[in-house]
């Protein structure tokens, strides 16, 4: 099982650049890039910050998927 996310889709919906989102959640732009690629699973704190930015519950952004 792996954790997938809808960050890229939601970021586009909110018209945010990777840099702008990175600034909002206090990480580097590369972390957002890695997150969208699925190569990085964020901490609970970062996931909650992203959820707050998009005004959604965490489970609407991050979900488990069978490999």
């Amino acid at each position: 099982m792996e954790i997938k996310n809808r960050v890229k889709e939601l970021r586009a919906k909110h018209s945010l650049t990777q840099g702008a989102l990175a600034e909002k959640v206090n990480v580097t732009r590369q972390t957002i890039v890695a997150l969208e690629k699925g190569s990085y699973v964020p901490s609970l704190l970062l996931a909650m910050n992203i959820a707050r930015t998009f005004n959604l519950p965490i489970e609407k952004i991050f979900y488990l998927e069978d490999e």
Partner: protein, 157 residues
């Protein structure tokens, strides 16, 4: 990517340090001979200061290029001076990458130190031609660890 530049700075600094220490070693050998034989003054020692000067100048330039940028990233001067310049810990992912790279570097230590220790056994055979051989071997150790750290960082980045 600043880590590439910082790793290059570290490697070049260590190599220059090795060069400077090697030239100082020759002078130290002469001095040791004077002390051992209780030579009466006046006595003279020759030292090639070029490598030492180059190491100091290049080291100073690296510091001038690197530290102001590191101060912006790391906030406090304490972290600028006490942490290696390769460390990137801007956010949680970079901290995780640093952790992984440190793990790789630690593992590399267990492979490197027996080989380097064994290479000391060659010293009696080459001590006349390369008296500074232990310095080179000793500096090889951090070089390998830095390279292992860097490879791990790049691989996981």
């Amino acid at each position: 990517m600043s880590i590439v530049r910082n790793v290059v700075y570290s490697i070049v600094s260590i190599m220059l340090m090795g060069w400077a220490l090697s030239s100082m070693y020759y002078a130290q050998m002469d001095f040791a001979k004077i002390v051992k034989t209780n030579q009466e003054p006046p006595w003279t020692i020759e030292i090639n200061t070029l490598p030492i000067l180059i190491a100091i100048v290049v080291g100073t330039l690296f510091t001038v290029f690197t530290y102001p940028k590191l101060k912006k990233k790391r906030k406090s001067w304490k972290n600028v001076f006490l942490l290696p310049i390769e460390f990137e810990e801007g956010d949680e992912r970079e901290k995780e990458l640093t952790g992984k790279a440190c793990r790789t570097s630690y593992i590399s230590m267990w492979y490197t130190f027996p080989i380097i220790s064994a290479l000391f056994l060659l010293y009696p055979f080459i001590s006349d031609n390369v008296p500074y051989y232990p310095i080179i071997l000793f500096l090889l150790y951090p070089l390998i660890q830095i390279i292992a750290y860097f490879i791990s960082w790049k691989k996981n980045y």
